[in-house]
């Protein structure tokens, strides 16, 4: 009974952290002279108020979920991937190139290849810092941030030069964008809204990642290396290889998110010079969603929908009562801080449970494996 209560409390921690962030947001709104009730009502209405609004929420949630799935893999392997933005961009670039180059191939085949290209592009962009961490001991937090900056410039260069829309190239304005993908290459729409098949792909992959992490040797080893690299090495696991793999896979999912954005929503790439101009900061917000989902692929689904809703709601809040949507970026930051800070209570209770288990244990009786597992965390 006690364990069940505390398991419930563990599950609720992120929710409490988010409510705390929203409470801080309410104070900020009061300081700005806006009633928090009006603001949050506008936010909720914008995200869930109509069928169309909810569809928009799911559209925003899709890249968040894909990035979050990658984050689940890398963070479980104790590899901190901050490079989602860059990985999305490179995945999108490669996928766009496929769609613009092979125009004679049947549509469904191009979509398949484009998604694979996105996966591959992200894998390469995550793989470079992954290999550098595994074999040269380069801090992956720094290298992934650097890779983000490099990817932005690569995108700007390609969209202004080699990949520019031929019709723009002749104009004086030279808007840095690619040509539009052929209609038959677009991901299918699911309803008369902007909701597209990418959302289904993302949900399906959430289950794949769950199986990968908990039902395969690869996933087991990634998690083992993440929990205790020394013990894993002692057990004969090549830790460097699994760290690199964790970051490669993580990047691949972000790259796929980029490809899905192009084939499902924008149908072309266009740059305003910044990363978030293309990604909408999904590379960062995906981390928020994954943490909220306790680095569990299935829990990341509702988490992504929640943060997608916040983003969509923020835009309509801006339109309705002129509260800049930047408020939500700030609140997302607070959610991250609160969620990682609240981990301490989970760890404390775990330790207490462990202590109780030890006391109850009769001499000579081995410790139950669950307790050992928890002790290793």
């Amino acid at each position: 009974m006690r364990t069940r209560m505390s398991a419930l409390f563990d599950a609720l921690l992120p929710v409490i952290a988010t409510l705390a962030a929203l409470a801080v947001g309410a104070v900020m709104l009061l300081i700005l002279g806006v009633s928090p009730v009006t603001a949050y009502a506008a936010l909720f209405d914008g995200a869930f108020g109509s069928f169309n609004a909810f569809a928009e929420t799911l559209v925003k949630a899709t890249p968040l979920l894909l990035v979050a799935l990658g984050i689940c893999i890398s963070f479980r392997g104790d590899v901190i991937n901050i490079g989602g933005e860059g990985q999305m961009i490179v995945g999108a670039l490669l996928a766009t190139w496929v769609g613009l180059t092979f125009t004679e191939v049947p549509g469904w085949l191009i979509v398949v290849f484009a998604m694979l290209a996105g996966f591959l592009g992200g894998a390469v962009w995550g793989g470079i810092p992954g290999l550098l961490k595994a074999y040269f001991n380069v801090n992956e937090i720094l290298s992934t941030v650097m890779m983000n900056a490099i990817a932005v410039q690569l995108m700007n260069f390609l969209l202004r030069g080699p990949m520019i829309d031929p019709s723009q190239a002749q104009l004086a304005s030279k808007i840095p964008q690619t040509a539009r993908l052929l209609d038959e290459f677009h991901l299918a729409r699911l309803a008369p809204t902007r909701l597209h098949a990418g959302a289904l792909i993302a949900v399906g992959l959430a289950f794949v990642v769950y199986i990968l992490l908990w039902r395969t040797t690869l996933g087991y080893r990634i998690r083992a290396v993440g929990q205790n690299p020394h013990a894993s090495r002692y057990a004969g696991i090549k830790t460097a290889r699994y760290m690199a793999l964790a970051l490669i896979l993580s990047g691949a999912f972000a790259g796929l998110a980029g490809a899905v954005q192009v084939y499902g929503v924008n149908y072309r790439m266009i740059t305003d010079g910044s990363a978030s101009g293309f990604t909408g900061a999904a590379g960062f917000n995906g981390i928020v969603a994954a943490l909220f989902g306790q680095l569990h692929p299935i829990l990341s689904i509702p988490a992504s929908i929640l943060f997608g809703a916040l983003l969509v709601g923020a835009n309509s809040m801006q339109r309705a009562i002129q509260i800049p949507s930047a408020l939500i970026t700030a609140l997302n930051g607070l959610v991250v801080v609160f969620v990682v800070s609240s981990e301490i209570w989970r760890r404390r209770r775990q330790r207490r449970r462990l202590a109780v288990a030890k006391e109850e244990e009769t001499p000579g009786r081995p410790t139950p494996p669950e307790v050992q597992k928890e002790a290793a965390r």
Binding site: I82, N139, I141, L142, P324, I328, S341
Partner: protein
């Protein structure tokens, strides 16, 4: 066209703006050196800088007093540092991730305040150049080193001060011991928590100052996300400089000189794609990290929360 780069005027221009552009990197990276030396990776520098940028700009614009702006930026940075210290020292939160949280907070908050309080891009009259008597008249050298504003001089002065504090004072010894072996430091009566609070708040204050140097001394405007990754580079510079102030200085200068060169290439209209030029410093950083990381030892307790063994 390339030959245009090598005229004396242009070379002096490149070097002078290179020195100037090193300023924000130096403040932020020296501050980060202190916190990393004590074992804390503060990845929220970018957010602290953005809020510092805005605070300095807004206060300077409304009070018409640049010094008050500077003070405001430092206070905002210190408060952000205090929050970071509480979260990492008392709550043992994962440092890299909570840093990203503080970054997002600073990014959104500075944007929100900008849109609510200013709305449009305005300019302020920033700190003026101070010509050091005598020295500023030396041809070339004078223009490069001795005709800068006060925050530029301050940034370069900070390097020897930081070296002295870290290596020649008791405080520095405490900071280093807490970053290398917190258990031993604790058993000798050094308060690990207090030292880390000090370094993280100092780091935040200097990040705020770094932001101020952008908005009221170098660019004299405020725009959304105007640091555009500068704070993250400052964190990388600490690794780059192997946790030594002189190394950080070298890295900051390398970065700012490449940036300045890149700006001048655009000004002169030399046909090198500017995107590729902008990319180079980042590629360079990764390469240097690869080359140096195996030879340099990270502070042993970096990113590890300290818990007393009971």
């Amino acid at each position: 066209m390339i030959s245009e780069l090598f005229t004396t005027t242009v070379l002096i221009g490149i070097l002078a703006s290179g020195i100037r552009l090193a300023t924000p990197y130096l403040y932020a990276a020296i501050g980060e050196t202190f916190s990393q030396k004590s074992g804390v990776l503060n990845l929220g520098v970018e957010g602290q800088m953005l809020l510092g940028c805005f605070a300095a700009f807004y206060v300077a614009l409304t009070t018409e007093n640049l010094w008050l702006g500077l003070l405001a930026a430092m206070i905002v940075g210190a408060v952000m540092g205090l929050a970071m210290a509480f979260v990492t020292v008392n709550l043992h939160a994962q440092q890299g991730i909570s840093g990203i949280g503080f970054y997002l907070f600073g990014l959104g908050m500075s944007d929100l305040l900008f849109q609510k309080l200013l709305g449009t891009v305005e300019t302020v009259k920033g700190f003026p150049e101070i010509y050091i008597p005598g020295l500023s008249d030396i041809p070339g050298i004078g223009e490069i080193f001795f005709s800068q504003n006060i925050l530029v001089y301050g940034a370069f002065l900070l390097v020897p001060i930081a070296w002295f504090v870290l290596n020649k004072t008791t405080l520095g010894l405490k900071i280093r011991s807490v970053g290398e072996n917190p258990d031993a430091a604790d058993s000798l009566g050094v308060s690990v928590a207090r030292v880390r609070y000090f370094t993280i708040i100092l780091g935040g204050t200097l990040s705020g100052l770094a932001g101020a140097s952008l908005s009221i001394a170098l660019l004299n405007v405020f725009q959304q996300n105007m640091t555009s990754g500068l704070g993250f580079i400052a964190v990388a510079l600490v690794y780059f400089g192997a946790w030594k102030p002189a190394g950080v200085l070298a890295g900051a200068l390398l970065f700012s000189m490449v940036n300045s060169l890149q700006l001048w290439i655009q000004v002169l209209g030399i046909p090198v794609p500017s995107d590729i030029a902008v990319m180079m410093p980042y590629v360079l950083t990764i390469l240097v990290l690869v080359a140096t990381v195996s030879k340099v030892r990270t502070p042993s307790a970096l990113t590890k929360p300290f818990e007393r063994e009971d």
